[in-house]
Amino acid sequence: MIDWAHFTPWSSFAGGLLIGAAVAAFVVIHGRVAGISGILGGLLRPAGRDIGWRIAFIGGLLSAPVFYGLFSRFPLATIEAGFPLIVLAGVLVGIGTRYGSGCTSGHGVCGISRLSPRSLAATATFMAAGLVTVFVVRHLPA
């Protein structure tokens, strides 16, 4: 059953186009994949190469709400999980994206754009794990 009250096809598609434009600009200008977990994780490597552009990219993401705020209000984020669950989830996302070499941006957007079989497998896997997790949390009796 579709949740028509929350479904936002147009703004989601428009935002997706901007994300795609950023991915395209990054590969054309920098010759790299705009995978956020990889860009962030690369900062934690011992060999401190190309730190500058990595910090700049993360800085751009962090500044996006301020920039957006010049034109419109930041959309409300509803975060149901409590702090202990947030910590657990954060650690799992940190470890998982590094072992899996990518997240929603690197595998989900960039990898699928390149038709990489590896990224298709990764995306199918994290989607399936996310679906199962939400089913267990929301629908299985505690």
């Binding site: 935002g15 920098h30 962030l40 996006a64 997790t133």
Partner: protein
């Protein structure tokens, strides 16, 4: 120059995430909740992003070098192994629990959400843990 273009790309990416609605974890969980009231928005985000992303990678393949002059450094690993699958599954569980993946979490951090700040710190801790175990594994591999 690389700093400026990288910052602007990150900014554009972040604004795209905000407009798409993906900085709200309840929309991510709404997409992953097939058994409840399903919000298909995330599929439209992916559609829009892959449309222009694919065009960008095609264009990049025709360039001798990137605009900034460097060689392309795209991932060229082909193998689909246990690390990829188990890592992605671990990520998916965390994604389903909180409704945050790395990009939207950083943007919500920038918007000042305390839970996003905690999430990002925990995520960095997870990434540091990965670096440590990897270094130990590498050290053992060179010893043996």
């Amino acid at each position: 120059m690389a700093i400026l273009t990288s910052f602007l790309t990150g900014l554009l990416f972040g604004v795209g995430l905000i407009i798409s609605g993906m900085t709200d974890p309840s929309k991510i969980i709404g997409f992953l909740d097939l058994a409840g009231a399903w919000d298909p928005s995330l599929a439209f985000v992916m559609g829009g992003a892959v449309l222009l992303g694919a065009a960008g990678f095609r264009l990049a393949e025709r360039q001798p070098t990137s605009v900034l002059g460097g060689l392309r450094q795209l991932p060229d690993t082909k193998s689909i192994g246990a690390r990829l699958i188990l890592g992605s599954a671990t990520f998916g569980v965390g994604w389903g629990l909180a409704g945050f993946c790395p990009g939207p979490a950083l943007v919500a951090f920038g918007a000042g959400y305390d839970k996003a700040v905690v999430f990002v710190i925990a995520m960095l801790a997870g990434m540091v843990a990965y670096e440590f175990t990897e270094r130990r594994r590498m050290a053992r591999a060179t010893d043996g």
